[in-house]
């Protein structure tokens, strides 16, 4: 009789409360209160970063110049995800398929990875113009940008 091989189950179910800090606080307050998406520009290389953060990684310079960007932008990368992996924030598989893109908001140098309202591959291509669809009413977290809508001519 082969030796039975047992497994020990354990469910990680813990909570954290993450301090947003001054940069994210300003970002989410502007998003919630004014529907504005704020980025930060490096004083040395002039690169405009999203999300805002304490320093520019290339120059190691603190950044203080806030720049409103978007809400429109250009699709720089895209995919349609089909594999249902477990979403650790919900403990449930994330519903598929969903479209996802790297969006370069007008005025920003970095891109933002977010959902697209399009899941038909045939209707997605680089360079498409997209627009942020904001949640109403906004609550001051990343859910306030629900997804990006492809602007169809």
């Amino acid at each position: 009789m082969p030796q039975p091989l047992l497994r020990v189950r354990a469910s990680l179910d813990l909570t954290w409360h993450y301090a947003a800090g001054s940069h994210f606080t300003r970002f989410f307050e502007a998003l919630r209160d004014d529907g504005l998406i704020l980025a930060l520009r490096c004083p040395a290389c002039r690169r405009v970063y999203l999300p805002p953060r304490p320093v520019c990684g290339n120059c190691f310079r603190r950044m203080e110049e806030w720049v409103p960007v978007g809400p429109q932008g250009t699709l720089r990368a895209f995919t349609v995800v089909h594999f249902p992996f477990l979403d650790p924030t919900t403990g449930q598989p994330r519903p598929v398929p969903f479209g996802m893109g790297l969006i370069q908001l007008d005025g920003a140098d970095t891109t933002l990875n977010h959902y697209l309202d399009e899941t038909d591959l045939g209707r997605l291509e680089l360079g498409l113009r997209v627009e942020a669809v904001l949640r109403e009413p906004r609550q001051g977290d990343m859910g306030d940008i629900r997804l990006f809508r492809v602007l169809r001519p």
């Binding site: 469910s11 990680l12 989410f28």
Partner: protein
Amino acid sequence: MSEPLVFPGSITIPFSYAAGAAASRFLVALRDERRILGTRCSSCKKVLVPARSFCAGCWEDTGDWIEVGPEGALVSWTTVHLPLPHLPPPPVTLGLLRLDGADTDLLHAIGGDSRRLERGLRLRPVWREARSGSLLDIAHFAPIT
């Protein structure tokens, strides 16, 4: 200074850890035979409990399987009074006990009134009726009265 923005977050992921052949045999012995097994290191001859496939100190494979206990002597204990998500509601007493025939101490829950615990106190395992092949098939060790 305005109220700081703090985001609540949770991580919810199930895990399933392979006990491995040696620990599986140890856990099956708890489940099916209500026996506590150790393994003897082929080099230093210590009887290691819980049973395992090798001795950490000598890094040699263990050889003989030896039943230990079921009774043993309390070595150390602590009664946790904080409500913690990974523990039953407080107070919960965890102890290290040296089972008869073993050369290492077993960690387990200790039952009974924690105020009456003392070093060397003789204990015996209290088995659960429904056993699933887990260290928790022993509900706790209770003082032999």
